[in-house]
Symmetry: C2
Subunit: 451 residues, 2 copies
């Protein structure tokens, strides 16, 4: 069996390593545009901010590591054609000028093809995005360029107040750069949080000196060769460093060329991660998935999703059965001291989708109130009118990710608030409250339901 | 409606405050042997060790606080008779010599009686337990006595290597006392952990200078008026401070006198927390419960259990319906830097009960491996042969409690390992691994099941 994988992100490499886990014989070849593989994109803001010492730290494995395990990685190369009718792809060095001139045109046949082309940063179609000092943030190369430029930067603007934008904003501030994060919507973290929770994160960011500008879209960036001024909603902000953190668009071109069906949000796959073309799978940021609550098509551009999809694709390719379920898009971010997590439906998203919801809230502590170092925790539960939990948002300075995970399982299993109040939460004063903050939020929701 | 509650621990006071939450009119009277109410028993070791500054800190509320909310608390008093046929109790001051002499004999009638008499420390029936310098550890008064005595102590023995015993052992060591913890079984934490996990905790304790002696039961304590030597399994250990942390026996005498059925493990209650006698409920350490895995009778002597039972009793008393489910005995302890958590069935308990199990293990990290401050985490999953999770043990220096809670929910919902591998865990490098350690343990179990 010969498997060709296009892309070396979390999705592509998970497919490779999991096919190898189950099959010692399979021939596995990964073709990637990148020079470095197996690094953590999510860690880039933390290297820029200096919390992680260097970009070398976030590279997990080299191509040689995979080579030793019988996974051939062809770096700096582009698959430019999939001939699905004859089960082969054509690739060439990324430097197309050279490769075309040299007539370079390598062919790789496959039994199974996995498209893991990921996504590319959305660049707003305005003037000035090509100026020096304007960066996107996707690859480790992007990160290195930003970090190098930031060394001589005094004022930065980050366009886009999603998790990556805010993590970057905080990170740049730690380098003593004056930072403004701009967002075209009326709140930060619009995909994950409701406005009432987002405002708490905004207050924290402002308290540590990060400026936030809301409800202003990027008009243009101007400057003489290099960026000098950013205009958002007619407001001018000086900046010698501009980062566009304005979202990721799935890279579907190759899948489309291969004849795969493409949906409104990305490459169409079934729950086995198969595309519409026989023997072609797709995983990661390039595919569209289904929302576990609304049933609608959505994206899930997270490393964890790519890993889970990669495992499903690998198992199906080697003849085991596995399915990928609709997502609740569990997310967590650490911005300075603050951890922000969310999973499932937000209240605003419920309203947009005409879903009636009841809200449960708690403001409690991460440990017993008398235990030194206990920290405030804010929880918001979004439930249906019968108390079934549909979503959860949590903000605190510790233990947010793990609590979000508990609620992700609760949502996946259709757990209701009354079950949460009956549930066993472990307790010891140095690590928890005798009544868990999630129970308090569930009781709050139940009080509203029963009143 | 008049409710009399006997006992002011977590169970009794939860009944009181929750009846008040739902009913402004109910007359609520709590009779307690204690002078201080609403304090955290679980926090006593941390005050002794100095992590919490004083015993005042761990007192949540005064009797006056409850008085202001229409809950009358009669302190320092003993209910000595329940006349259930006529719905009243008799009580007297704790100082029975005085009260009997004075003919003190107060009567309290009730519509509902709640027995929340808790448990009392088991004192091994050997010589010397009445010497000066020998303490049990249950009430805040016990804690104060130990802390005071420890000030002039040089060598301490803690008998019993359960969570409280180990927390105390660690705490005394912080006071520069030479500490030995003895255990009659062949491992520490025998109720919560398997030997292979317990050994990791033992290694940590020994690394910080706490001596552990296993497989030796207490023979006697000797000394001239005050403790000087402890003999365990014929081995002599010098000690000027001895703490008996040898378990809690449910205090069932009053319930028995009232005519309530008593089981092998405590007061018999149904899932509504009703005893066998009409209008008498029982909650907390004095009752027996059912194990959610084995179905056997067991105890659940935890503050969280008492709180959950108290809420159930309160709801049923005021005419709402609530039930208390079988327990998985979710526990967590913090010993020094180490957090130790467990829920559900252990492998040794499975073996004892003739339950066939598959084990899944992982040793991973609490954060991305390149993120500063990431810590090792050890997980052991106990599953049935079809992969259903029956138990989980976790040791790490952070985020153990919350992960145990996730697994408690998984066990309660009958989740299988393959569902865990499909589950969404939130990810960001500063707070988690891209593949959660629990997923790795579930995959390990699945590999064994599928091989």
């Amino acid at each position: 069996m010969k498997v060709v994988i296009i892309g070396s992100g979390a999705g592509g490499l998970t497919v490779a390593s999991h096919i190898r886990k189950f099959s010692k014989k399979a021939e596995i070849i990964v073709v990637t545009l990148e020079n470095q593989v197996a690094y953590s994109q999510c860690a880039i803001p933390y290297v820029i901010g200096g919390e992680i010492e260097s970009f070398e730290e976030i590279v997990m494995h080299t191509p040689e590591y995979y080579g030793e395990r019988g996974i051939k990685i062809i770096t700096d190369s582009e698959v430019f054609e999939v001939v699905s009718s004859e089960n082969y792809v054509r690739y060439r060095p990324k430097d197309t000028q050279t490769s075309i001139k040299n007539g370079f045109n390598e062919i790789l046949s496959y039994d199974y093809l996995v498209i893991a082309t990921g996504g590319s940063p959305f660049i707003p179609p305005v003037e000035g995005t090509n100026l020096n000092g304007v960066f996107k943030v996707r690859t480790i190369e992007d990160g290195e360029k930003i970090k190098s430029w930031a060394e001589k930067s005094k004022k930065a603007v980050v366009v886009g107040a999603g998790a990556i934008g805010l993590e970057l904003g905080y990170g740049l501030k730690q380098l003593s750069i004056d930072v403004t994060v701009t967002e075209m919507l009326s709140q930060i973290l619009p995909r994950s949080l409701d406005p009432d929770m987002a405002i708490k994160v905004q207050a924290y960011l402002e308290s540590v000196g990060v400026n936030i500008i809301l409800e202003r879209a990027l008009d243009n960036i101007s400057g003489d060769e290099k960026a000098e001024t950013v205009v958002v909603g007619n407001k001018r902000v000086d900046a010698d460093l501009v980062i566009l953190s304005t979202g990721i668009r799935p890279s579907v071109e190759l899948a489309k060329q291969a004849g795969c069906a493409i949906g409104s949000m990305g490459v169409t796959v079934n729950e086995r991660m198969e595309t519409s073309v026989t023997n072609i799978y797709a995983v990661g940021d390039c595919v569209e998935v289904y929302d576990g609550i609304t049933g609608q098509k959505t994206v899930s551009p997270f490393g964890t999703t790519a890993v889970r999809q990669g495992k499903v694709a690998a198992k199906n390719i080697i003849g085991r059965n596995a399915i990928f379920r609709p997502v609740f898009n569990s997310v967590v971010s650490k911005i300075g001291e603050l951890e922000i997590g969310a999973v499932g439906l937000t209240e605003i998203s419920a309203n947009l989708n005409g879903i009636e919801v009841i809200i449960g809230r708690s403001r409690a502590l991460t440990k017993a109130r008398y235990y030194p170092g206990c920290k405030p925790i804010d929880i918001k539960l979004v439930c249906n009118p019968r108390g079934k939990i549909l979503g959860c948002q949590i903000i605190a300075k510790e233990t947010v990710a793990e609590r979000v995970d508990t609620m992700a399982l609760a949502i996946a299993k259709g757990v209701k608030c009354d079950e949460i109040t009956e549930m066993e939460f472990s307790y010891a004063p140095p690590v928890s409250m005798v009544v868990d903050p999630i129970v308090l939020a569930a009781e709050d929701a139940l009080d509203k339901i029963n009143s």
